[in-house]
Amino acid sequence: MADYSQFNPAWGDRAPVIIGFLCNWCSYRAADLAGTSRFGYPATLRDIRIMCTGRLDPTFVVKALREGADGVLVMGCHPGQCHYEEGNYKAMRRIALLQRTLAQLGVHPDRVQLAWASAAQGGIFTETVKEMTEKVARLGPMQWRDNLEETAPHQEEGVPL
């Protein structure tokens, strides 16, 4: 198991968990190619196949963060090469708006990233996962559930309200 505490001590012996949304035609196949080529990358990515990044509902991203993911990586075909003409442009715009919105909620834009890899780019896929993992590792764990537990002070402690 890789040691992520070197990036940020908050990891302890844990590893980042990144949810991936890969489009069926380019990036999922790039991931397949990375596999058949035996390109190693950190075991941080858990991916979901969608037909097109155009299917990427921002709800899925916030859901993944809420459920404990430390980052979300959306990967599609290169701009201009979408199997469905321009689903990836829609993803580009949604992610841009989502990143701005999430930044206001204290979620660093590096935690939600959009990248491209064609079916032939197993290497680019691998590098993207490595880079994303390192970025998220530096940011530290997300653990959104901590944000949902109330920390109301006990009145006995006499701290300000």
Binding site: M1, A2, A15, V17, I19, W25, C26, Y28, R29, A31, D32, A34, G35, T36, R38, F39, G40, Y41, A43, R46, D47, I48, R49, I50, M51, C52, G54, R55, L56, D57, P58, T59, F60, K63, A64, E67, G68, A69, G80, Q81, H83, Y84, E85, E86, G87, K90, R94, S118, A119, A120, Q121, T126, Q143, R145, L148
Partner: protein, 673 residues
Amino acid sequence: MSEEKVGVYVCHCGHNIAGTVNVEEVSEWAGQLPNVAVAKDYKFMCSSLGQEMVEEDIKKEGLTRVVVAACSPHMHEPTFRGACQRAGMNPYLFEMANIREHASWVHQDDKPAATEKAKAIISGAVRRSLELAPLEPFRAPINKTTLVVGGGIAGINAALEIAGAGYKVLLVEREPSIGGHMAQFDKTFPTLDCAACILTPKMFDVGNSPNIELLTYSEVEQVDGYVGNFTVRIRKRARKIDTTLCTGCGDCWERCPAKVIDDVYESGLGYRTAVYRPFPQAVPKYPVIDTESCIYFKNGRCKACEKFCPTGAIKFDQEDEVVVVNVGNIVLATGYDVFDARRIPAYGYGRLANVFTSMEFERMTNASGPTDGKVVLRDGVTAPETVAIIHCVGSRDKNTNVYCSATCCMAALKFAHLVKEKTNAQVYNFYIDMRTAFKDYELFYTRLLEEGTHFIRGRAAEVTDAARLPGEEGKLIVQAEDTLIGKQRRVPVDMVILMVAMEPRADASEVAHRFGIGCSDAGFFTERHPKLDPVATMTEGIFIAGTCQGPKDIPASVSQGEATAARVLGLIGKGEVQIEPVRAQIDEDRCSGCRICNNLCPYNAIDFIAEKGVSRVNPAQCKGCGTCVAACPSQVITGQHYTYDSIMSQIEGLLYDVRSPNEKVRVVEMEPA
């Protein structure tokens, strides 16, 4: 909790998965998951025994969902869907967990992490499977007409094979004649038989086949539809010639006063007129008027061709014509472009007169070429006494193209032989490696060695006219490290031939996009599988042949052309296709008509029904990308097989180990009132 009974099967894939992922542990763990009724691991799930195990469990254990944790769904999803179907389960209730390409093969250095990841992937797949709904594939009849794009040797063979089996073919070619690059060649390696002699009969057959409709000087502009039912829009560029009247007599081009350099057929080494037929054996025989160089189109005068045309076939006012056709299958055989040697300035092409490209040399040695087949310097008269042939110009070079262009070594040998035969000049080949694979090629190499051709193993550093040593004055000097003797060599020569690379067509990515297929890093069209499915693409019903798929020689292009024909005929023989029922659907009762989705669909499948104030998806046009599904602000569009619930559940499943326990968004349970 759901009542579904899930069977989970963890494949060892020999050592491919089991060597990294602890499959026994994973399978035992999966057995504990909610709803999982059966969890097993097995050596090879895709074997007939593995498939039978699934079928038996569906029947005996009453499984309602099946998850196979093995390889990529692109590999074996159809296999296991078939097994489920045979056992009476709807195939769309099957879910694949990719723990090979996405886990065992990429985390070989971290086995515990790979095992944990495999669990997460399976957990996600199980959760997703519970949300799947049974679907029925659409069936559609196959249109028996085939579109072949590109009339080079690959496209010609594909067209002839399909037409020969009795089906209609539409052959579209961008240039005024079919023939492609092969028509430019003089001899073909290694047999040295004449290219025209073997190509022309095939071209003639195409022109005369009752089943082939030939559209030259035409381009495909738009492709819609799906396998079996494509609608294609083709632009027939105006030839400015009425082909029903033209006899191909040649009076027009003989009288045409506008001479321009022919960059296409003559590779820039010769001239043609503004009204021209690319070469004498052209099919069809009709000329075209190149309006860019025609004097009449430039300044409104001349019309010499019109005056002399005996049949009145010249039509200056003819306009482009757009035809829309329906076809069932498409073969792309769009060929290659040659590398522009000016991109390597050190070789002096364009600066130094006597540096030629291999395509220029092909034309030079061709008996019908600009020099009538004489090998001469740029002055047009002097025969060279020494010739250098530089290999790998634009190939095997990280500055340009990293791949090997596959044909240049053999073409270089052919050139060396032709130079020797025609001029008796000394020939120096500067090569990195000699690559003479395939039948009888090595024999040809041996023959050239015996003919006395010089072979210097070393990539040429530069071609220069900067003389340094005696004997270099007035010559071109090729500098290279001879790696066999470990010395720098400077070879003064009269002529240099650059063996330029094959590159993807300049518009290959645009064309790929138009047809909905992919391109490799280098830019060549991507085949479905590099070994086992070399002429199919990721898009059903679209096949690729020849050099558009990668550099290859004539025999390989011909084989691929014929292979595509076999694939097309196979589909036509089946009569109908099954199409994935992944489609979007709008709940019209709940659509508020906000029209957000209306212009998102790249296929215009969404109509706004003004009377009802709702939007509607036309399932025949929808391709299931899901863009509208994600965009709907009232969440009333459903994307079949990739539903909201299925993906949300998969997220929860994938994060099973990091989720906070018992987390619920909304508490709805209540005590009885």
